[in-house]
């Protein structure tokens, strides 16, 4: 069942030689990295390079074509369904558009996981759900349906739902996409607060430079052309010391003249 990894000392998540593929099409190969406990880990790269796909692999929505993903040294990839459910319960995911269940109110959205996994009474569940919504600034919107609120609010409600079960690990898929600069900054602060106050490990997929430099403790850079990860480390170091010119250009937002076609 669960296999132990020797290198799992401080690693909350270990990605081991993972290949991502859809049918015959290989998206990325040879992905190996650790996400340390209590770190904010950023997955970056250009559009369409497979950042979101990597996140979907890490949360079990896609199976790696090869390799393995481990949580605290426990294999997630090869876990049996019940063990996998246990691991999933420790994770919270904020999807790109919030992915709120549209037939339920915001409070019901947050309450659903609580109802599934806790022994709280209906009244207590409602109270916790309201508290979570208040934490993301949605007090008073408990009985609204997702279609009645703005995109940014939906995202925050999605975050409240992701945090419903106080997960140790939070995944964010492009959290700042579609948010104005201030909301985006507030979300960054929230991510840092989650890390510092709850000791949560946070994995963020983003290409927003401002966000990357504000929140990232560690990162990995995926390159669509070589279909590999070409850089690893804190973006603040990478911007100066990364041997890959592509990564430095990405992090400095510089549009160097591209080769003319022959």
């Amino acid at each position: 069942m669960a296999t132990r990894s020797e290198a799992s000392g401080n690693a909350r998540i270990s990605v081991r030689d993972v290949t991502m593929a859809y049918g015959d099409f290989v998206l990325m190969r040879g992905l190996t990295f650790d996400v340390k406990r209590g770190n904010v880990f950023v997955i970056m790269g250009g559009s369409g390079c497979g950042k979101s796909s990597l996140l979907r692999h890490m949360i079990g929505l896609h199976e790696p074509a090869a390799g393995e993903i481990l949580y605290d040294g426990d294999s997630f990839t090869h876990a049996d369904p019940e063990h996998r459910d246990e691991l999933l319960r420790r994770m919270g995911v904020l999807y790109q558009q919030g992915a709120l269940w549209s037939s339920m109110t915001l409070a019901e959205n947050v309450a659903l996981p609580l109802g599934e996994y806790t022994k709280l009474s209906a009244r207590e569940i409602r109270e916790v759900a309201c508290l979570k919504l208040a934490l993301v600034g949605l007090k008073g919107f408990e009985d609204y349906y997702p279609s009645q609120i703005s995109g940014g609010m939906r995202k925050r409600a999605g975050l409240a739902r992701a945090m419903a079960l106080d997960p140790d690990i939070l995944f964010f898929d492009e959290p700042s996409a579609g948010l104005d600069p201030i909301s985006s900054r507030l979300l960054d602060d929230l991510i840092l607060a989650l890390r510092d106050s709850l000791g949560a490990t946070v994995v963020v997929v983003t290409h927003e430079l401002a966000s990357i430099f504000t929140i990232a403790d560690d990162s990995v850079f995926l390159d669509a052309d070589t279909r590999r990860m070409i850089a690893r480390g804190n973006p603040k170091d990478l911007v100066e010391h990364c041997p890959e010119e592509k990564v430095r250009r990405f992090l400095t937002r510089s549009a160097e003249p591209v080769e003319q076609p022959a």
Binding site: L61, V93, Y95, W101, P113, E116
Partner: protein, 360 residues
């Protein structure tokens, strides 16, 4: 060679063709191509398109292009257009396969589609197993909503269609039976046809168009919106939470709709029989009651349960298979209706033969 550009270049107006210039390039083979833009008026993309094609023609014949005389805006836009080399050999640009390859690919796709249906039915059976052992997880309120939606809310359209089917059957039958002076048997004909076949069939086809499509669209939109992924990562199986209540609602409601359709069809036949064929109310009633016994209702009821399952399975499966964009949701709804109706008709044929063999 000098190309003189003059006048207004507008997408709305007419612009000169590139070919004559390209012909001249081929004929005279000049060393360089220059422009004279002295008389150039207003310009837009039409000028850029012209110049782009001209430059391509020049490049083919290894003629250098000197853009010096062109307005600065034009030069900058042309540079931008060439800044990123065009992508070659990308996965998007697939070449067209031969007939044999396409036939093979279609066969493989058909097989894969069949396998997906079988897998889905298998998973659904597991979910039903969890339901029976009390481990399935869905909200009671969802089931109530779907019961309402597949039951009471469907009554108006089922009323209309079944009544009219009864009327049509009575008319068609009456024309033939009248020749033998046996109009009274219209009651038998309508009654038996509705109860054994048409009630279940019409109700199922209505539900495939109405509810099967709705299920596919709901689940498809949820899939595209990552709502189904959100359930999965919460450890809540979407099959239990989303498919099971829909499936249960249809399987429970379809026999009831079938009975309702049977009655309405008989009412339709009754209206035609009493008003046009001159059969009295009590005659028609007695004839109908004598013609149909309880066993005649069995085939229709058995079939309607299966039809309900088929509509639910195809509606939900097509929705769950949805990938990517909102246009996929429309495709899912279409596909749900088509595969739902086809499977209903096929199942009806199989059942009819089976009931005949069994003597039901």
């Amino acid at each position: 060679m000098v190309v003189r550009l003059a006048g207004a270049w507008r997408l709305g107006g007419t612009t000169p063709a590139v070919d004559p210039v390209a012909e001249q390039l081929r004929g005279t083979r000049p060393r360089a191509l220059r422009f004279d833009a002295g008389g150039l008026g207003a310009w837009d993309t039409s000028l850029l398109a012209f110049l782009d094609r001209l430059e391509n023609a020049a490049a083919e014949r290894e003629v250098t292009v000197e853009r010096g005389a062109l307005p600065e805006g034009v030069t900058r836009l042309l540079d931008l257009a060439h800044a990123v080399p065009s992508r070659t050999g990308s996965d998007g640009a697939k070449k067209r396969d031969g007939l044999l390859a396409r036939t093979g690919l279609a066969a493989i796709a058909l097989l894969a589609g069949g396998r997906e249906v079988v897998t889905f039915v298998g998973r659904l059976t597991q979910a039903i197993g969890r339901l029976v052992t009390g481990r399935a997880r869905f909200r009671g309120v969802d089931l109530a909503v779907f019961l309402q939606d597949t039951g009471a809310a469907a009554l108006p359209i089922v009323t209309l269609i079944s009544f009219l089917v009864g009327v049509i059957l009575a008319f068609v039958g009456a024309v033939q039976l009248k020749q033998f002076g046996a109009q009274i048997y219209v009651a038998d004909l309508v009654g038996l046809a509705m109860v054994r076949q048409m009630g279940a069939l019409m109700a199922a086809i209505i539900m495939a168009g109405r509810t099967g499509a709705a299920f596919a669209a709901q689940l498809g939109a949820m899939k595209v919106n990552e709502e189904i992924d959100a359930l999965t990562t919460m450890g809540i199986p979407p099959l239990d939470f989303l498919v099971l209540p829909r499936f249960l609602a249809l399987v429970l409601m379809m026999p009831l709709l079938c009975i309702y359709a049977d009655v309405l069809g008989i009412v339709g036949g009754f209206v035609v029989g009493t008003s046009i064929l001159g059969i009295s109310l009590s005659q028609y009633w007695n004839q109908t009651v004598n013609a149909i016994d309880l066993m005649d209702c069995l085939p229709g009821l058995i079939m309607s349960v299966f039809f309900g399952a088929l509509v639910a399975v195809f509606g939900c499966l097509r929705g769950m298979q949805c990938e990517g964009s909102s246009s996929a949701v429309g495709d899912a709804a279409t596909s749900a209706v088509v595969s739902g109706i086809v499977s209903i008709i096929v199942a009806d044929a199989v059942f009819t033969v089976l009931f005949d063999i069994l003597g039901i």
